[in-house]
Symmetry: C2
Subunit: 331 residues, 2 copies
Protein backbone atom coordinates (compact mmCIF):
# COMPACT_ATOMS: atom_id res chain seq x y z
CA UNK A 1 0.00 0.00 0.00
CA UNK A 2 1.41 3.38 -1.07
CA UNK A 3 -0.41 5.86 1.14
CA UNK A 4 0.44 8.42 3.80
CA UNK A 5 -0.67 6.41 6.82
CA UNK A 6 0.74 5.63 10.25
CA UNK A 7 -1.56 3.27 12.19
CA UNK A 8 -4.65 2.70 9.99
CA UNK A 9 -6.84 2.87 13.10
CA UNK A 10 -5.61 6.42 13.68
CA UNK A 11 -6.07 7.54 10.07
CA UNK A 12 -9.32 9.46 10.66
CA UNK A 13 -8.36 11.04 14.03
CA UNK A 14 -4.99 12.15 12.63
CA UNK A 15 -6.73 13.74 9.63
CA UNK A 16 -9.18 15.52 11.94
CA UNK A 17 -6.33 16.85 14.09
CA UNK A 18 -4.76 18.24 10.94
CA UNK A 19 -7.97 20.00 9.94
CA UNK A 20 -8.32 21.62 13.36
CA UNK A 21 -4.65 22.68 13.47
CA UNK A 22 -4.97 24.27 10.03
CA UNK A 23 -8.05 26.25 11.14
CA UNK A 24 -7.36 27.22 14.75
CA UNK A 25 -9.58 30.31 14.75
CA UNK A 26 -12.70 28.76 13.28
CA UNK A 27 -12.85 24.99 13.91
CA UNK A 28 -12.41 22.61 16.76
CA UNK A 29 -11.87 18.87 16.92
CA UNK A 30 -13.66 16.96 19.69
CA UNK A 31 -11.76 13.68 20.03
CA UNK A 32 -14.30 12.06 22.38
CA UNK A 33 -16.86 11.97 19.59
CA UNK A 34 -14.54 12.18 16.59
CA UNK A 35 -16.14 15.35 15.30
CA UNK A 36 -15.23 18.66 13.72
CA UNK A 37 -17.36 21.66 14.64
CA UNK A 38 -17.39 25.42 14.23
CA UNK A 39 -15.78 27.06 17.27
CA UNK A 40 -18.72 29.47 17.45
CA UNK A 41 -21.47 26.82 17.28
CA UNK A 42 -24.19 26.67 18.37
CA UNK A 43 -25.48 30.05 17.28
CA UNK A 44 -28.88 30.66 18.90
CA UNK A 45 -29.98 32.73 15.90
CA UNK A 46 -29.63 30.02 13.29
CA UNK A 47 -30.55 26.43 12.60
CA UNK A 48 -27.49 24.21 13.05
CA UNK A 49 -26.55 22.00 10.11
CA UNK A 50 -24.83 18.64 10.65
CA UNK A 51 -23.70 16.00 8.19
CA UNK A 52 -22.04 12.69 8.87
CA UNK A 53 -21.04 9.64 6.89
CA UNK A 54 -18.17 7.25 6.60
CA UNK A 55 -14.78 8.88 6.07
CA UNK A 56 -12.92 8.59 2.79
CA UNK A 57 -15.07 11.11 0.91
CA UNK A 58 -13.09 14.23 1.81
CA UNK A 59 -13.53 17.15 1.50
CA UNK A 60 -17.05 15.84 2.36
CA UNK A 61 -17.90 16.42 5.10
CA UNK A 62 -15.25 17.29 7.66
CA UNK A 63 -13.59 19.90 5.42
CA UNK A 64 -16.78 21.81 4.63
CA UNK A 65 -17.56 22.86 8.18
CA UNK A 66 -17.66 26.63 8.48
CA UNK A 67 -19.74 29.75 8.10
CA UNK A 68 -22.41 29.25 5.44
CA UNK A 69 -21.95 25.47 5.33
CA UNK A 70 -21.99 22.86 8.13
CA UNK A 71 -21.89 23.61 11.85
CA UNK A 72 -20.46 20.16 12.49
CA UNK A 73 -19.51 16.94 10.75
CA UNK A 74 -19.41 13.59 12.53
CA UNK A 75 -17.51 11.12 10.41
CA UNK A 76 -17.27 7.40 10.94
CA UNK A 77 -14.18 5.38 10.21
CA UNK A 78 -13.32 4.94 6.52
CA UNK A 79 -16.48 3.83 4.66
CA UNK A 80 -18.28 3.10 7.98
CA UNK A 81 -21.29 4.99 9.37
CA UNK A 82 -20.60 7.05 12.49
CA UNK A 83 -21.76 5.43 15.76
CA UNK A 84 -25.28 6.46 16.75
CA UNK A 85 -24.12 7.88 20.09
CA UNK A 86 -21.55 10.09 18.36
CA UNK A 87 -24.29 11.46 16.11
CA UNK A 88 -26.37 12.13 19.21
CA UNK A 89 -23.52 13.89 21.01
CA UNK A 90 -22.78 15.98 17.93
CA UNK A 91 -26.44 16.99 17.78
CA UNK A 92 -26.40 17.96 21.45
CA UNK A 93 -23.19 19.98 21.08
CA UNK A 94 -24.61 22.14 18.30
CA UNK A 95 -28.24 22.18 19.50
CA UNK A 96 -29.75 25.61 18.87
CA UNK A 97 -33.19 26.85 19.96
CA UNK A 98 -33.93 27.19 16.23
CA UNK A 99 -33.26 23.48 15.77
CA UNK A 100 -30.82 21.12 14.13
CA UNK A 101 -30.94 19.68 10.63
CA UNK A 102 -29.16 16.36 10.11
CA UNK A 103 -28.13 15.71 6.50
CA UNK A 104 -27.60 12.08 5.55
CA UNK A 105 -26.58 10.50 2.28
CA UNK A 106 -28.97 7.63 1.68
CA UNK A 107 -27.10 4.54 2.90
CA UNK A 108 -28.77 2.05 5.23
CA UNK A 109 -26.07 2.20 7.91
CA UNK A 110 -26.07 6.00 8.00
CA UNK A 111 -29.89 6.14 8.06
CA UNK A 112 -29.99 3.85 11.09
CA UNK A 113 -27.43 5.85 13.03
CA UNK A 114 -29.04 9.20 12.26
CA UNK A 115 -32.66 8.11 12.75
CA UNK A 116 -31.89 6.61 16.16
CA UNK A 117 -29.89 9.69 17.13
CA UNK A 118 -32.76 11.93 16.08
CA UNK A 119 -35.18 9.96 18.26
CA UNK A 120 -32.89 10.15 21.27
CA UNK A 121 -32.22 13.87 20.74
CA UNK A 122 -35.95 14.52 20.58
CA UNK A 123 -36.32 12.64 23.87
CA UNK A 124 -33.98 15.28 25.28
CA UNK A 125 -36.18 18.05 23.86
CA UNK A 126 -33.90 19.03 21.02
CA UNK A 127 -35.72 20.23 17.90
CA UNK A 128 -34.26 18.11 15.11
CA UNK A 129 -35.12 17.06 11.56
CA UNK A 130 -33.38 14.66 9.19
CA UNK A 131 -33.04 15.02 5.44
CA UNK A 132 -31.88 12.20 3.16
CA UNK A 133 -29.97 12.91 -0.02
CA UNK A 134 -30.35 10.49 -2.95
CA UNK A 135 -29.02 12.09 -6.11
CA UNK A 136 -27.29 9.10 -7.77
CA UNK A 137 -29.15 8.00 -10.92
CA UNK A 138 -26.83 5.04 -11.58
CA UNK A 139 -28.87 2.33 -9.87
CA UNK A 140 -32.07 2.03 -7.86
CA UNK A 141 -31.52 -0.21 -4.83
CA UNK A 142 -27.83 -1.01 -4.36
CA UNK A 143 -25.33 -2.86 -2.21
CA UNK A 144 -25.79 -0.60 0.80
CA UNK A 145 -29.05 1.19 0.07
CA UNK A 146 -32.76 0.83 -0.32
CA UNK A 147 -33.49 3.43 -2.96
CA UNK A 148 -30.93 5.63 -4.63
CA UNK A 149 -27.51 6.46 -3.17
CA UNK A 150 -26.47 9.93 -2.02
CA UNK A 151 -23.25 11.11 -3.65
CA UNK A 152 -21.59 14.37 -4.79
CA UNK A 153 -24.92 16.19 -5.17
CA UNK A 154 -24.92 16.46 -1.39
CA UNK A 155 -22.64 19.46 -1.83
CA UNK A 156 -25.48 21.51 -3.28
CA UNK A 157 -27.91 20.55 -0.50
CA UNK A 158 -25.32 21.48 2.16
CA UNK A 159 -24.49 24.76 0.45
CA UNK A 160 -28.13 25.81 0.04
CA UNK A 161 -29.32 24.89 3.54
CA UNK A 162 -26.12 26.32 5.02
CA UNK A 163 -26.79 29.65 3.33
CA UNK A 164 -30.47 29.65 4.29
CA UNK A 165 -29.62 28.89 7.91
CA UNK A 166 -27.06 31.70 7.94
CA UNK A 167 -29.80 34.07 6.72
CA UNK A 168 -31.93 33.09 9.71
CA UNK A 169 -34.49 30.80 8.01
CA UNK A 170 -36.42 28.61 10.47
CA UNK A 171 -36.15 24.81 10.54
CA UNK A 172 -39.20 24.17 8.35
CA UNK A 173 -37.91 26.59 5.75
CA UNK A 174 -34.42 25.11 5.80
CA UNK A 175 -35.89 21.61 5.34
CA UNK A 176 -38.07 22.87 2.48
CA UNK A 177 -35.04 24.28 0.71
CA UNK A 178 -32.96 21.15 1.25
CA UNK A 179 -35.70 18.90 -0.10
CA UNK A 180 -36.18 21.17 -3.07
CA UNK A 181 -32.48 21.17 -3.99
CA UNK A 182 -32.27 17.39 -3.57
CA UNK A 183 -35.31 16.98 -5.83
CA UNK A 184 -33.65 18.81 -8.75
CA UNK A 185 -30.14 17.35 -8.34
CA UNK A 186 -28.89 14.29 -10.23
CA UNK A 187 -25.45 12.64 -10.34
CA UNK A 188 -23.68 9.78 -12.04
CA UNK A 189 -20.11 8.60 -11.42
CA UNK A 190 -17.63 6.18 -12.93
CA UNK A 191 -14.35 4.59 -11.87
CA UNK A 192 -11.12 4.20 -13.82
CA UNK A 193 -9.50 2.41 -10.87
CA UNK A 194 -10.51 0.91 -7.53
CA UNK A 195 -9.71 2.61 -4.21
CA UNK A 196 -7.57 1.30 -1.35
CA UNK A 197 -8.86 1.70 2.23
CA UNK A 198 -5.95 2.19 4.68
CA UNK A 199 -7.06 -0.69 6.94
CA UNK A 200 -7.40 -3.12 4.03
CA UNK A 201 -4.17 -2.13 2.33
CA UNK A 202 -5.21 -3.43 -1.07
CA UNK A 203 -7.76 -2.37 -3.73
CA UNK A 204 -11.38 -2.80 -2.67
CA UNK A 205 -12.39 -4.41 -5.96
CA UNK A 206 -10.81 -5.67 -9.15
CA UNK A 207 -10.88 -3.65 -12.35
CA UNK A 208 -8.91 -4.81 -15.39
CA UNK A 209 -6.30 -2.62 -17.11
CA UNK A 210 -8.75 -1.90 -19.93
CA UNK A 211 -11.93 -1.82 -17.86
CA UNK A 212 -14.00 0.93 -16.25
CA UNK A 213 -17.06 0.80 -13.95
CA UNK A 214 -19.91 3.00 -15.20
CA UNK A 215 -22.17 4.19 -12.38
CA UNK A 216 -19.81 3.20 -9.56
CA UNK A 217 -20.77 4.09 -5.98
CA UNK A 218 -18.52 6.16 -3.75
CA UNK A 219 -17.54 3.07 -1.77
CA UNK A 220 -16.69 1.14 -4.92
CA UNK A 221 -20.14 -0.46 -5.14
CA UNK A 222 -21.02 -1.85 -8.57
CA UNK A 223 -22.69 0.54 -10.97
CA UNK A 224 -24.67 -0.09 -14.12
CA UNK A 225 -22.09 -2.01 -16.05
CA UNK A 226 -18.44 -2.87 -16.50
CA UNK A 227 -17.24 -1.39 -19.80
CA UNK A 228 -14.09 -1.23 -21.89
CA UNK A 229 -11.89 1.85 -21.49
CA UNK A 230 -12.85 4.53 -24.04
CA UNK A 231 -12.10 8.16 -24.93
CA UNK A 232 -12.99 10.85 -22.37
CA UNK A 233 -15.74 12.32 -24.54
CA UNK A 234 -17.52 8.97 -24.85
CA UNK A 235 -17.39 8.46 -21.09
CA UNK A 236 -18.73 11.89 -20.15
CA UNK A 237 -21.37 11.76 -22.91
CA UNK A 238 -22.77 8.50 -21.49
CA UNK A 239 -22.90 9.90 -17.96
CA UNK A 240 -24.40 13.20 -19.08
CA UNK A 241 -27.13 11.44 -21.02
CA UNK A 242 -28.05 9.30 -18.01
CA UNK A 243 -28.29 12.38 -15.79
CA UNK A 244 -30.07 14.68 -18.25
CA UNK A 245 -32.80 12.18 -19.13
CA UNK A 246 -33.46 11.27 -15.49
CA UNK A 247 -34.99 14.47 -14.12
CA UNK A 248 -35.22 15.33 -17.06
CA UNK A 249 -33.30 18.56 -17.68
CA UNK A 250 -34.74 20.26 -20.75
CA UNK A 251 -34.04 22.91 -23.32
CA UNK A 252 -34.44 26.31 -21.68
CA UNK A 253 -33.29 25.08 -18.27
CA UNK A 254 -30.52 26.82 -16.38
CA UNK A 255 -28.29 24.47 -14.35
CA UNK A 256 -25.29 24.17 -12.07
CA UNK A 257 -22.77 21.74 -13.56
CA UNK A 258 -20.29 19.92 -11.35
CA UNK A 259 -17.45 17.67 -12.48
CA UNK A 260 -16.26 16.00 -9.29
CA UNK A 261 -13.00 14.08 -9.01
CA UNK A 262 -13.08 10.85 -7.02
CA UNK A 263 -9.66 11.38 -5.39
CA UNK A 264 -6.99 10.08 -7.75
CA UNK A 265 -7.80 12.04 -10.91
CA UNK A 266 -5.89 15.28 -11.58
CA UNK A 267 -7.83 18.49 -12.06
CA UNK A 268 -6.50 18.87 -15.63
CA UNK A 269 -8.59 15.86 -16.67
CA UNK A 270 -11.63 17.18 -14.79
CA UNK A 271 -11.55 20.45 -16.77
CA UNK A 272 -11.29 18.48 -20.00
CA UNK A 273 -14.48 16.60 -19.01
CA UNK A 274 -16.09 19.87 -17.94
CA UNK A 275 -15.50 21.47 -21.33
CA UNK A 276 -17.16 18.59 -23.17
CA UNK A 277 -20.16 18.45 -20.81
CA UNK A 278 -20.66 22.23 -21.02
CA UNK A 279 -20.71 22.12 -24.84
CA UNK A 280 -23.03 19.12 -24.93
CA UNK A 281 -25.47 20.90 -22.62
CA UNK A 282 -25.34 24.00 -24.82
CA UNK A 283 -26.26 21.81 -27.79
CA UNK A 284 -29.34 20.66 -25.86
CA UNK A 285 -30.34 24.26 -25.12
CA UNK A 286 -29.38 23.95 -21.45
CA UNK A 287 -27.44 26.90 -19.98
CA UNK A 288 -24.77 26.44 -17.34
CA UNK A 289 -25.32 29.17 -14.76
CA UNK A 290 -22.79 27.96 -12.19
CA UNK A 291 -19.69 25.77 -12.62
CA UNK A 292 -17.95 23.48 -10.13
CA UNK A 293 -14.79 21.58 -11.07
CA UNK A 294 -12.68 19.79 -8.49
CA UNK A 295 -13.02 17.35 -5.62
CA UNK A 296 -16.21 17.60 -3.60
CA UNK A 297 -17.07 14.01 -2.66
CA UNK A 298 -14.34 11.44 -3.22
CA UNK A 299 -13.72 7.76 -2.76
CA UNK A 300 -10.24 7.75 -1.19
CA UNK A 301 -7.69 7.47 -4.01
CA UNK A 302 -10.05 6.20 -6.70
CA UNK A 303 -9.35 7.56 -10.19
CA UNK A 304 -12.64 8.56 -11.75
CA UNK A 305 -15.21 11.31 -11.85
CA UNK A 306 -18.86 12.10 -11.42
CA UNK A 307 -21.13 14.63 -13.08
CA UNK A 308 -23.89 16.45 -11.22
CA UNK A 309 -26.60 18.77 -12.54
CA UNK A 310 -28.83 21.00 -10.44
CA UNK A 311 -31.80 22.75 -12.00
CA UNK A 312 -31.52 26.36 -10.93
CA UNK A 313 -34.23 28.84 -10.04
CA UNK A 314 -33.72 32.27 -8.57
CA UNK A 315 -33.81 31.02 -4.97
CA UNK A 316 -31.37 28.14 -5.43
CA UNK A 317 -28.95 30.24 -7.47
CA UNK A 318 -28.93 32.96 -4.82
CA UNK A 319 -28.20 30.44 -2.03
CA UNK A 320 -25.45 28.73 -4.01
CA UNK A 321 -23.82 32.12 -4.67
CA UNK A 322 -23.89 33.18 -1.00
CA UNK A 323 -20.47 33.41 0.68
CA UNK A 324 -19.10 30.45 2.63
CA UNK A 325 -15.94 30.18 4.70
CA UNK A 326 -14.60 26.66 4.90
CA UNK A 327 -11.37 24.82 5.62
CA UNK A 328 -10.43 23.93 2.08
CA UNK A 329 -10.80 27.44 0.68
CA UNK A 330 -7.21 28.33 1.21
CA UNK A 331 -6.06 30.79 -1.43
CA UNK B 1 -3.53 4.09 -19.64
CA UNK B 2 -6.51 4.92 -17.40
CA UNK B 3 -6.97 8.65 -17.92
CA UNK B 4 -9.65 11.00 -19.21
CA UNK B 5 -8.05 11.76 -22.58
CA UNK B 6 -9.25 11.96 -26.17
CA UNK B 7 -6.37 12.70 -28.56
CA UNK B 8 -3.25 13.22 -26.36
CA UNK B 9 -2.18 16.08 -28.67
CA UNK B 10 -5.42 17.89 -27.76
CA UNK B 11 -5.13 17.27 -24.02
CA UNK B 12 -3.90 20.76 -23.13
CA UNK B 13 -6.17 22.73 -25.51
CA UNK B 14 -9.22 20.75 -24.34
CA UNK B 15 -8.35 21.48 -20.71
CA UNK B 16 -7.94 25.19 -21.51
CA UNK B 17 -11.29 25.28 -23.27
CA UNK B 18 -12.84 23.79 -20.14
CA UNK B 19 -11.26 26.44 -17.92
CA UNK B 20 -12.56 29.24 -20.13
CA UNK B 21 -16.06 27.75 -20.37
CA UNK B 22 -16.22 27.41 -16.57
CA UNK B 23 -15.23 31.08 -16.12
CA UNK B 24 -16.96 32.93 -18.97
CA UNK B 25 -17.14 36.27 -17.19
CA UNK B 26 -13.55 36.52 -16.07
CA UNK B 27 -11.24 34.46 -18.31
CA UNK B 28 -10.59 33.95 -21.97
CA UNK B 29 -8.76 31.27 -23.90
CA UNK B 30 -6.67 32.39 -26.88
CA UNK B 31 -6.19 29.24 -28.98
CA UNK B 32 -3.65 30.83 -31.36
CA UNK B 33 -1.12 31.10 -28.53
CA UNK B 34 -2.53 28.43 -26.20
CA UNK B 35 -3.02 30.87 -23.36
CA UNK B 36 -5.49 31.73 -20.63
CA UNK B 37 -5.83 35.40 -19.70
CA UNK B 38 -8.03 37.67 -17.64
CA UNK B 39 -10.79 39.12 -19.82
CA UNK B 40 -10.04 42.57 -18.39
CA UNK B 41 -6.26 42.45 -18.99
CA UNK B 42 -4.26 44.53 -19.57
CA UNK B 43 -5.14 47.00 -16.88
CA UNK B 44 -3.16 50.21 -17.43
CA UNK B 45 -3.07 50.87 -13.68
CA UNK B 46 -1.26 47.72 -12.68
CA UNK B 47 1.77 45.64 -13.54
CA UNK B 48 0.70 42.53 -15.47
CA UNK B 49 1.83 39.20 -14.05
CA UNK B 50 2.46 36.22 -16.35
CA UNK B 51 3.62 32.71 -15.57
CA UNK B 52 4.22 29.84 -17.93
CA UNK B 53 5.66 26.36 -17.75
CA UNK B 54 4.97 22.91 -19.05
CA UNK B 55 1.44 21.65 -18.44
CA UNK B 56 0.73 18.83 -16.02
CA UNK B 57 1.18 20.93 -12.86
CA UNK B 58 -2.40 22.16 -12.59
CA UNK B 59 -3.80 24.17 -10.90
CA UNK B 60 -0.45 25.86 -11.64
CA UNK B 61 -0.61 28.02 -13.63
CA UNK B 62 -3.60 28.11 -15.94
CA UNK B 63 -6.11 27.77 -13.08
CA UNK B 64 -4.69 30.60 -10.98
CA UNK B 65 -5.32 33.36 -13.48
CA UNK B 66 -7.60 36.00 -12.00
CA UNK B 67 -7.85 39.12 -9.92
CA UNK B 68 -5.02 39.24 -7.37
CA UNK B 69 -3.05 36.45 -9.07
CA UNK B 70 -1.90 36.05 -12.68
CA UNK B 71 -3.04 38.16 -15.62
CA UNK B 72 -2.16 35.35 -18.00
CA UNK B 73 -0.63 31.89 -18.08
CA UNK B 74 1.05 30.48 -21.17
CA UNK B 75 1.45 26.74 -20.77
CA UNK B 76 3.46 24.43 -22.94
CA UNK B 77 2.42 20.90 -23.76
CA UNK B 78 2.65 18.41 -20.88
CA UNK B 79 6.09 18.81 -19.22
CA UNK B 80 7.36 20.93 -22.14
CA UNK B 81 8.29 24.61 -21.99
CA UNK B 82 5.98 26.96 -23.91
CA UNK B 83 7.29 28.09 -27.31
CA UNK B 84 9.22 31.36 -27.13
CA UNK B 85 6.90 33.08 -29.60
CA UNK B 86 3.84 32.15 -27.51
CA UNK B 87 5.50 33.71 -24.46
CA UNK B 88 6.18 36.83 -26.53
CA UNK B 89 2.60 37.03 -27.80
CA UNK B 90 1.27 36.54 -24.26
CA UNK B 91 3.50 39.36 -23.06
CA UNK B 92 2.26 41.63 -25.86
CA UNK B 93 -1.39 40.79 -25.16
CA UNK B 94 -1.15 41.82 -21.49
CA UNK B 95 1.43 44.60 -21.91
CA UNK B 96 0.61 47.47 -19.55
CA UNK B 97 2.32 50.87 -19.36
CA UNK B 98 3.31 49.86 -15.81
CA UNK B 99 5.12 46.83 -17.19
CA UNK B 100 4.96 43.05 -17.26
CA UNK B 101 6.54 40.60 -14.82
CA UNK B 102 7.30 37.15 -16.19
CA UNK B 103 7.50 34.45 -13.49
CA UNK B 104 9.47 31.34 -14.38
CA UNK B 105 10.20 28.20 -12.41
CA UNK B 106 13.91 27.54 -12.78
CA UNK B 107 14.14 24.94 -15.56
CA UNK B 108 16.55 25.41 -18.45
CA UNK B 109 13.92 25.06 -21.16
CA UNK B 110 11.59 27.57 -19.54
CA UNK B 111 14.43 30.01 -18.88
CA UNK B 112 15.42 29.97 -22.55
CA UNK B 113 11.88 30.59 -23.77
CA UNK B 114 11.22 33.42 -21.33
CA UNK B 115 14.60 35.14 -21.64
CA UNK B 116 14.33 35.23 -25.42
CA UNK B 117 10.74 36.46 -25.21
CA UNK B 118 11.78 39.20 -22.80
CA UNK B 119 14.49 40.37 -25.19
CA UNK B 120 12.09 40.46 -28.12
CA UNK B 121 9.39 42.22 -26.10
CA UNK B 122 11.91 44.87 -25.04
CA UNK B 123 12.79 45.36 -28.68
CA UNK B 124 9.12 46.26 -29.13
CA UNK B 125 9.38 48.79 -26.26
CA UNK B 126 7.49 46.73 -23.72
CA UNK B 127 8.69 47.18 -20.15
CA UNK B 128 9.32 43.67 -18.91
CA UNK B 129 11.21 41.88 -16.14
CA UNK B 130 11.73 38.20 -15.44
CA UNK B 131 11.89 36.53 -12.05
CA UNK B 132 13.10 32.96 -11.53
CA UNK B 133 11.76 30.78 -8.73
CA UNK B 134 14.01 28.14 -7.20
CA UNK B 135 12.51 26.93 -3.93
CA UNK B 136 13.30 23.18 -4.13
CA UNK B 137 15.96 22.18 -1.57
CA UNK B 138 16.09 18.54 -2.73
CA UNK B 139 19.03 18.80 -5.10
CA UNK B 140 21.36 21.47 -6.44
CA UNK B 141 21.78 21.06 -10.21
CA UNK B 142 19.34 18.49 -11.60
CA UNK B 143 18.17 16.74 -14.75
CA UNK B 144 16.62 19.86 -16.25
CA UNK B 145 18.20 22.68 -14.27
CA UNK B 146 21.33 24.53 -13.47
CA UNK B 147 20.75 25.45 -9.86
CA UNK B 148 17.70 24.57 -7.84
CA UNK B 149 14.32 23.67 -9.30
CA UNK B 150 11.21 25.80 -8.94
CA UNK B 151 8.25 23.88 -7.51
CA UNK B 152 5.18 24.45 -5.29
CA UNK B 153 6.67 27.49 -3.58
CA UNK B 154 5.90 29.37 -6.78
CA UNK B 155 2.37 29.74 -5.42
CA UNK B 156 3.56 32.16 -2.74
CA UNK B 157 5.55 34.26 -5.20
CA UNK B 158 2.54 34.48 -7.54
CA UNK B 159 0.18 35.33 -4.69
CA UNK B 160 2.42 38.06 -3.26
CA UNK B 161 3.30 39.77 -6.53
CA UNK B 162 -0.31 39.41 -7.70
CA UNK B 163 -1.54 41.21 -4.60
CA UNK B 164 1.15 43.90 -4.83
CA UNK B 165 0.35 44.53 -8.50
CA UNK B 166 -3.35 44.80 -7.67
CA UNK B 167 -2.49 47.47 -5.07
CA UNK B 168 -0.71 49.49 -7.77
CA UNK B 169 2.92 48.80 -6.90
CA UNK B 170 5.35 49.69 -9.71
CA UNK B 171 7.45 47.10 -11.55
CA UNK B 172 10.59 47.54 -9.41
CA UNK B 173 8.55 47.14 -6.26
CA UNK B 174 6.74 44.05 -7.56
CA UNK B 175 10.08 42.49 -8.49
CA UNK B 176 11.50 43.35 -5.06
CA UNK B 177 8.57 41.60 -3.37
CA UNK B 178 8.79 38.54 -5.61
CA UNK B 179 12.52 38.15 -4.99
CA UNK B 180 12.01 38.57 -1.28
CA UNK B 181 9.31 35.89 -1.10
CA UNK B 182 11.40 33.50 -3.21
CA UNK B 183 14.37 34.08 -0.92
CA UNK B 184 12.46 32.91 2.20
CA UNK B 185 10.58 30.01 0.58
CA UNK B 186 11.79 26.40 0.65
CA UNK B 187 10.16 23.17 -0.59
CA UNK B 188 10.83 19.46 -0.69
CA UNK B 189 8.67 16.80 -2.36
CA UNK B 190 8.50 13.03 -2.56
CA UNK B 191 6.76 10.47 -4.76
CA UNK B 192 4.84 7.37 -3.76
CA UNK B 193 4.18 6.55 -7.43
CA UNK B 194 5.31 7.70 -10.87
CA UNK B 195 3.10 9.81 -13.13
CA UNK B 196 1.76 8.96 -16.58
CA UNK B 197 1.91 11.62 -19.34
CA UNK B 198 -1.04 11.28 -21.75
CA UNK B 199 1.18 11.11 -24.83
CA UNK B 200 3.44 8.42 -23.34
CA UNK B 201 0.62 6.31 -21.96
CA UNK B 202 2.79 4.56 -19.38
CA UNK B 203 4.55 5.61 -16.14
CA UNK B 204 7.45 8.02 -16.66
CA UNK B 205 9.77 6.11 -14.33
CA UNK B 206 9.83 2.87 -12.37
CA UNK B 207 9.21 2.78 -8.64
CA UNK B 208 8.89 -0.55 -6.82
CA UNK B 209 5.82 -1.50 -4.76
CA UNK B 210 7.74 -0.80 -1.55
CA UNK B 211 9.81 2.13 -2.81
CA UNK B 212 9.48 5.90 -2.64
CA UNK B 213 11.52 8.72 -4.19
CA UNK B 214 12.59 11.34 -1.63
CA UNK B 215 13.13 14.76 -3.17
CA UNK B 216 11.44 13.96 -6.48
CA UNK B 217 11.04 16.73 -9.05
CA UNK B 218 7.64 17.71 -10.44
CA UNK B 219 8.45 16.01 -13.73
CA UNK B 220 9.50 12.82 -11.99
CA UNK B 221 13.19 13.79 -11.96
CA UNK B 222 15.31 11.87 -9.44
CA UNK B 223 15.55 13.34 -5.98
CA UNK B 224 17.99 12.73 -3.15
CA UNK B 225 17.50 9.02 -2.77
CA UNK B 226 15.30 6.04 -3.38
CA UNK B 227 13.99 4.76 -0.03
CA UNK B 228 11.80 1.99 1.35
CA UNK B 229 8.16 2.84 2.03
CA UNK B 230 7.70 3.99 5.62
CA UNK B 231 5.05 5.49 7.92
CA UNK B 232 3.65 8.93 7.06
CA UNK B 233 5.25 10.60 10.08
CA UNK B 234 8.72 9.38 9.14
CA UNK B 235 8.28 10.66 5.58
CA UNK B 236 7.10 14.13 6.53
CA UNK B 237 9.67 14.42 9.34
CA UNK B 238 12.49 13.80 6.86
CA UNK B 239 11.15 16.39 4.42
CA UNK B 240 10.48 18.94 7.15
CA UNK B 241 14.00 18.59 8.50
CA UNK B 242 15.50 19.13 5.05
CA UNK B 243 13.44 22.28 4.54
CA UNK B 244 13.83 23.75 8.04
CA UNK B 245 17.61 23.41 8.13
CA UNK B 246 18.06 24.84 4.64
CA UNK B 247 17.06 28.49 5.14
CA UNK B 248 17.22 27.85 8.17
CA UNK B 249 13.85 28.50 9.85
CA UNK B 250 14.45 29.07 13.54
CA UNK B 251 12.74 29.20 16.90
CA UNK B 252 10.66 32.38 17.06
CA UNK B 253 9.97 32.43 13.32
CA UNK B 254 6.45 32.73 11.98
CA UNK B 255 5.80 30.76 8.77
CA UNK B 256 3.27 29.79 6.14
CA UNK B 257 3.06 25.98 5.91
CA UNK B 258 1.88 24.28 2.72
CA UNK B 259 1.26 20.58 2.23
CA UNK B 260 0.83 20.20 -1.52
CA UNK B 261 -0.59 17.10 -3.18
CA UNK B 262 1.13 15.96 -6.37
CA UNK B 263 -2.11 14.92 -8.14
CA UNK B 264 -2.99 11.38 -7.11
CA UNK B 265 -3.03 11.73 -3.32
CA UNK B 266 -6.36 12.34 -1.58
CA UNK B 267 -6.76 15.41 0.62
CA UNK B 268 -7.42 13.23 3.69
CA UNK B 269 -3.78 12.08 3.59
CA UNK B 270 -2.56 15.65 3.06
CA UNK B 271 -4.29 16.82 6.25
CA UNK B 272 -2.73 13.92 8.14
CA UNK B 273 0.71 15.12 6.97
CA UNK B 274 -0.21 18.70 7.78
CA UNK B 275 -1.08 17.83 11.38
CA UNK B 276 2.27 16.15 11.94
CA UNK B 277 4.27 18.97 10.33
CA UNK B 278 2.40 21.62 12.32
CA UNK B 279 3.14 19.85 15.62
CA UNK B 280 6.79 19.29 14.72
CA UNK B 281 7.20 22.98 13.91
CA UNK B 282 5.58 23.91 17.23
CA UNK B 283 8.13 21.70 18.99
CA UNK B 284 10.87 23.72 17.29
CA UNK B 285 9.33 27.00 18.44
CA UNK B 286 8.16 27.87 14.92
CA UNK B 287 4.62 29.27 14.66
CA UNK B 288 2.37 28.53 11.69
CA UNK B 289 0.69 31.78 10.76
CA UNK B 290 -0.97 30.64 7.53
CA UNK B 291 -1.96 27.14 6.40
CA UNK B 292 -2.31 25.72 2.88
CA UNK B 293 -3.42 22.12 2.31
CA UNK B 294 -4.40 20.81 -1.11
CA UNK B 295 -3.15 20.76 -4.66
CA UNK B 296 -1.14 23.81 -5.78
CA UNK B 297 1.54 22.41 -8.09
CA UNK B 298 1.09 18.82 -9.23
CA UNK B 299 2.80 16.27 -11.39
CA UNK B 300 -0.13 14.83 -13.37
CA UNK B 301 -1.48 11.82 -11.45
CA UNK B 302 1.58 11.23 -9.28
CA UNK B 303 0.80 10.10 -5.72
CA UNK B 304 2.98 12.05 -3.35
CA UNK B 305 3.30 15.38 -1.60
CA UNK B 306 5.58 18.31 -0.98
CA UNK B 307 6.05 20.59 1.99
CA UNK B 308 6.77 24.31 1.66
CA UNK B 309 7.67 26.86 4.31
CA UNK B 310 7.67 30.63 3.86
CA UNK B 311 9.18 32.86 6.52
CA UNK B 312 6.57 35.52 7.17
CA UNK B 313 7.02 39.18 7.97
CA UNK B 314 4.26 41.76 8.15
CA UNK B 315 4.48 42.65 4.46
CA UNK B 316 4.45 39.08 3.14
CA UNK B 317 1.62 38.02 5.46
CA UNK B 318 -0.51 40.98 4.37
CA UNK B 319 0.01 40.18 0.69
CA UNK B 320 -0.75 36.47 1.17
CA UNK B 321 -3.96 37.37 3.01
CA UNK B 322 -5.18 39.77 0.30
CA UNK B 323 -8.26 38.58 -1.63
CA UNK B 324 -7.84 36.71 -4.91
CA UNK B 325 -10.47 35.53 -7.39
CA UNK B 326 -9.39 32.52 -9.38
CA UNK B 327 -10.89 29.68 -11.37
CA UNK B 328 -10.47 26.93 -8.82
CA UNK B 329 -12.08 28.79 -5.94
CA UNK B 330 -15.49 27.40 -6.60
CA UNK B 331 -17.44 27.07 -3.38
Amino acid sequence: MKKFVNDPKQFVPEMLQGIALANPDTLKYVPDYNLIMRSDAPNANKVSIVQGSGSGHEPAHVMVVGKGMLDAACPGDVFAAPPMDYVLETTKLVASPKGVLLLVNNYTGDRMAFEMAQEMAEAEDIKVRTLFIDDDVSVQNSTYTVGRRGVAGNFFVMKAVGAAAEEGADLDEVVRIGEKVNSVTRTMGMALTACTPPAKGSPLFELGDDEIEMGVGIHGEPGRRRAKMKPANDIIDEMLEAVVTDLPYESGDRVALMINGLGGTPISELYLLYGRAHRQLADKGITVGRSYVGEYCTSLDMAGASITLVKLDEEIERLLAAPAEIAIRTF
